[in-house]
């Protein structure tokens, strides 16, 4: 069965087709919303919302873009809108630690863990731009569309985010060298 046929069946409400699409794309959807949300529980909520929206909108999917791209955009929008709603409710930003409790570079897996934790610790505005640009490969124009900012603002935020990440990671490397690798055993 082609993906187009699969999508058509899912649009008709076929449970097995929807499950197949979910199995195929859930890791991609979850990854982007998890990184935007910086929180496991929120990420699950956002991913679920993204899937609900996508399945609801499937009959309108015309195939102009790749399905994965279309779904990815829905996931990003769902996460960003949910965060905006939460921000409106809280009227404050959650406190962000200045330093990230991550350890020295020991393996790719550990490097990924360090990066993920550093991403979680970035201020939200910077994190969104950094994830969309450096992780997800959006252009500044696309980021501008999604976030409602200018391409120039997107660039500015990106450079600050990269610098902040570098600062956090290098501080940790220095601390790890001072205190020894075992100091990071709790990671």
């Amino acid at each position: 069965m082609t993906e187009r046929q699969l999508i058509q069946q899912a649009a008709d409400g076929d449970a097995r087709a929807i499950r197949t699409l979910y199995d195929r794309y859930a890791p991609r959807v979850y990854a982007v919303v998890r990184r935007i949300a910086a929180d496991d529980e929120l990420a699950q909520d956002y991913a679920q919302e993204a899937w609900i929206r996508a399945i609801r909108a499937l009959p309108t999917f015309r195939g102009d873009a790749r399905f994965s791209t279309w779904l990815h955009r829905i996931a990003v929008n769902a996460a960003l809108q949910a965060i905006r709603k939460a921000e409106t409710r809280r009227k404050r930003e959650a406190p962000m630690p200045d330093r990230v409790p991550v350890g020295p570079k020991r393996s790719d897996a550990l490097l990924q863990k360090r990066l993920e934790r550093a991403l979680d610790a970035l201020p939200e505005g910077m994190r969104r731009v950094l994830i969309l640009h450096d992780v997800e490969g959006y252009t500044h124009d696309e980021i501008g569309d999604v976030l409602g900012v200018t391409a120039g603002t997107s660039k500015s935020q990106l450079f600050k985010a990269r610098a902040k990440m570098r600062d956090m990671l290098s501080s940790l490397d220095g601390a790890a060298q001072e205190h020894g690798a075992e100091a990071w055993g709790s990671i």
């Binding site: 929807i18 991609r28 950094l130 450079f159 570098r166």
Partner: protein, 223 residues
């Protein structure tokens, strides 16, 4: 050599060309070159971050939401048991029965006996009430599904091959309909604001009304 390049400038140089002054500085300053290399490595590593698996049980939660919003239909269930031509109102009522557990339906439809009492519905409720985990709840739903399909198969046979009023006697049909109405009403009592369940109840009531009118019409002709 001048001042070192600041962090924002180095971040820009990750994927933008350097201005002539910046390029001259980089050519002479090992510290800035090292920092720029580190920032490029960091950016490459971000781009290579893997996809992440959603938590275990994520699909079960999503599937429940999709069903509650009417975005999923189990075409396979009816097709699998040769019930593709089952009338729409019966499918709707089936969902209400499934909601309650469905275990009492097999008894009433299989025997064409007396309608179940309120206790007949509670058996299905108990299955779900006792389900302590998502897996056990799913198993209870699967059991209810099997019971219901068995009952629906019998009902289909009684109705005849066209799925409408056929071989089944109207009193038996009415008895089964009364049960389905009761099941739908019980479902609505549990979730009074649920538009889907209210829709099921309305469909079943409409079918019962149509059957009553058909019976009344036949009596008029007979007399």
């Amino acid at each position: 050599m001048g001042q070192h390049l600041n962090a924002d400038t180095l971040a820009r140089l990750v994927d933008h060309p350097a201005e002539p002054g910046e390029a001259r500085h980089l050519a002479q300053c090992e510290r800035c070159r090292t920092e720029l290399t580190a920032m490029r490595d960091q950016t490459d590593a971000l781009g290579a971050l893997p996809e992440l698996l959603p938590p275990v049980g994520d699909w079960d939660v999503l599937e429940a939401r999709l069903r509650s919003e009417g975005l999923v239909r189990d075409r396979g269930l009816f097709d699998r048991f040769g019930l593709a031509r089952t009338p729409g109102w019966m499918r709707a009522a089936a969902a209400a029965v499934l909601f309650l557990g469905g275990t009492g339906v097999g008894a009433v439809l299989g025997t064409q006996g007396a309608l179940p009492t309120a206790g007949g519905l509670s058996g299905g409720d108990a299955q779900f009430a006792q389900a302590a985990t998502l897996e056990s709840a799913a198993e209870a739903v699967r059991r209810a599904e099997r019971d219901y399909v068995t009952a629906l198969t019998r009902y289909q046979a009684l109705l005849g091959t066209d799925g409408e009023a056929g071989a089944m006697a109207d009193p038996s049909r009415m008895a089964a309909l009364e049960y389905l109405v009761a099941a739908s009403q019980a479902a609505v009592r549990q979730a009074p604001a649920d538009p889907f369940l209210n829709g099921l109840l309305a469909s079943t009531l409409a079918e019962r009304e149509a059957t009553v009118q058909r019976l009344a019409s036949r009596r008029d002709t007979w007399f």
